[in-house]
């Protein structure tokens, strides 16, 4: 049997509005005490009613339009009914038959070849987030659970793709590019670890000869891009192995267990779902005029694809550099900010892709939180250009900047690592090295180039690397000849 992997994603993004979706509690709940950003509406107290936040509608329209969706001119909300402690009304206000956006697509490019694939977007709709449950230990062994409703009512968009992704890697790339888009739209920060971007996947295997589609499973609890890829790879292998043995795949929800690197069946732990959707009587249908759609379309910010084109054209960057810059909006912003003060884009991109990204990754810091601001990075590069420090020293200075957040100039002064530009001083040191190493001088005179390297090294040792190597080498040659 020739097998083909079929993956569809269900992505939830949290909108970065100030207030929640149906009330005016703050969405800024990270680091706040439990149940502090709550009111009768997001607690679902009896008698309270929802009123939609205008900005949520705007953000959702931006998202749907950026994903090339058609917009329902009349859209409405439904109630999705189920009992769970994190859902205070025992129903989630969501959308069902008339979602805000439908029938869209996102064209992704697969590195390194840059092959383009168009992935269908089934729908984009608005809904409310639930609260958070905290268990003592894990959910199965815990004797009780605790509920925090701060997250209840955070605005979400659900983005559902067609089952058109053909590999776990493609799924990961799609998700990365989707994240970059919502970041560029400035509607979501796209932080998977903190849950502002979440992803579930439906996955099955298709017999590509007969076209028969296998039973699908739903994978949940993938909390990073890496986890998405690893979980789906595991699931592909699991399903293939079962099929090879002629064992039927069970339609079920499976959780990705990050510590064990496996997906685990949730069968028996979830009840049969019958959500009893019906139109939410507390919210009237949303009428979305063509004028409103046009206005939002016109004011859409620059999206990653066109930004990439611009980077290539305006900054003369190679495609793969541009690709890296747009993959994370904040990184592109960083580069643009720095390049406003620094002309040599080639040097700049090398530092950004090299030292900056390496250190951020190593220390698990987001670009926005980088201790070295674009201005500070440019400050460092200018010290190199002015010959104050060498490129090699600059790397050390960079690391010190990253740790302390100080300006390059400040570190250089404190540590007295300015390059010696005083020629007289350098000549004195050169003379001293020549005097101390007669054998090497003789070797050099007999044409041994290696001896010159040794002498230069000695000068660098005396100056603790603060001398310019090519100047030193020239100086040694001249002093020996004279």
């Amino acid at each position: 049997m020739k097998e083909e992997v079929v993956i569809g994603l269900e992505v939830h993004i949290q909108f970065m509005t100030k207030a929640k979706i149906f009330c005016q509690c703050s969405t800024d709940y990270l680091g706040k005490g439990p149940n502090t950003n709550v009111c009768p509406i997001c607690l679902g107290l009896p008698g309270s009613l929802p009123v939609l936040n205008k900005k949520v509608l705007e953000y959702a329209l931006r998202t749907a339009l950026a994903l090339n969706c058609e917009i329902n001119q009349v859209s409405r909300f439904h109630r999705k009914n189920y009992f769970y402690p994190d859902l205070p009304k025992a129903y989630q206000i969501s959308q069902y038959d008339w979602p805000l956006g439908f029938r869209g697509h996102l064209e992704i490019s697969i590195p390194p070849s840059g092959v383009r694939r168009r992935i269908g977007i089934t729908r984009v709709h608005i809904e409310e987030d639930a609260g958070k449950l905290i268990h003592e230990g894990d959910i199965a062994s815990s004797t009780y659970s605790l509920v925090d409703y701060n997250r209840s009512g955070i605005p979400l968009a659900e983005i559902v793709t067609e089952p058109e992704l053909r590999s776990p890697e493609e799924a990961r790339i799609f998700l990365m590019q989707l994240r970059s888009i919502v970041q560029h739209l400035e509607v979501c920060d796209g932080n998977m670890e903190e849950g502002s971007l979440r992803c579930d996947a439906n996955i099955s295997i298709r017999d590509s000869q007969t076209g028969v589609l296998g039973t699908k499973t739903e994978i949940k609890n993938m909390n990073s891009f890496r986890a998405v890829k690893k979980a789906l790879e595991f699931e592909v292998e699991r399903q293939k192995k079962l099929l090879a043995k002629g064992i039927k795949i069970v339609q079920e929800t499976r959780h990705w267990d990050e510590s064990k690197n496996i997906t685990v069946s949730m069968r028996g732990k979830e009840e049969a779902q019958d959500y009893r959707y019906f139109p939410e009587p507390d919210l009237l249908p949303l009428k979305i005029s063509p004028e409103m759609i046009e206005k939002i379309r016109r004011t859409l910010p620059e999206l990653p694809e066109s930004r990439k084109e611009r980077f290539i054209k305006v900054y003369n960057l190679p495609e793969d550099d541009a690709e890296v810059l747009i993959s994370n909006k904040a990184l592109g912003d960083y580069f643009e900010k720095a390049s406003a003060f620094y002309a040599d884009k080639k040097i700049l991109i090398n530092w950004v892709r090299g030292e900056l990204l390496y250190n951020l990754k190593e220390k698990k810091i987001e670009v926005e939180q980088s201790p070295i601001s674009p201005e500070k990075l440019v400050g460092l590069l200018k010290l190199i250009d002015e010959g104050v420090i060498s490129g090699k020293i600059a790397k050390t200075v960079f690391e010190k900047m990253f740790e302390s957040g100080k300006e390059a100039r400040e570190i250089v002064q404190e540590d007295k690592i300015t390059q010696i530009t005083d020629q007289n001083e350098l000549i004195k040191i050169v003379d001293r090295v020549i005097e101390e190493n007669p054998q090497s001088v003789e070797d050099f005179n007999q044409g041994k180039e290696k001896a010159l390297h040794y002498l230069v090294g000695q000068v660098m040792r005396y100056t603790q690397g603060r001398a310019k190597p090519d100047f030193v080498s020239q100086a040694i040659k001249e002093r020996i000849k004279n």
Binding site: F22, Q24, T36, L52, L133
Partner: protein
């Protein structure tokens, strides 16, 4: 004798969805009462509604929208004024599984 529209098994399924529990006697009583009611309700089938649009809302106006502005939330005293099941600022619920 009314028609059997809903079975006891369905009553049990619906009770599970609604998170209600009944003893055998109650189940029997509910099944028979619901059958009487549903039998009467089957009157609606006399009407051909093939081409009728459903009414979900009786008022038609543009949806009211909130500005994206923050208003004060409830105080902890207010949040927890109606339950003794509190722990460290959380609502406490029995084990899930």
């Amino acid at each position: 004798m009314t028609k059997k529209i809903i079975t006891k098994k369905e009553v049990e399924y619906v009770a599970r969805l609604a998170k209600l529990e009944f003893n055998e006697e109650e189940k029997g009583e509910f099944t028979s009462q619901l059958n009487t009611i549903l039998d009467y309700f089957s009157k609606l089938n006399e009407l051909d509604t093939e081409k009728v649009e459903p009414t979900a809302y009786v008022v038609s106006q543009d949806n009211l929208l909130n500005e994206d502005e923050i208003k004060p939330s409830l105080s902890p005293e207010e949040v927890f004024s109606n339950t003794p099941y509190i722990q460290k600022g959380y609502f406490k619920v029995p084990k899930i599984m």
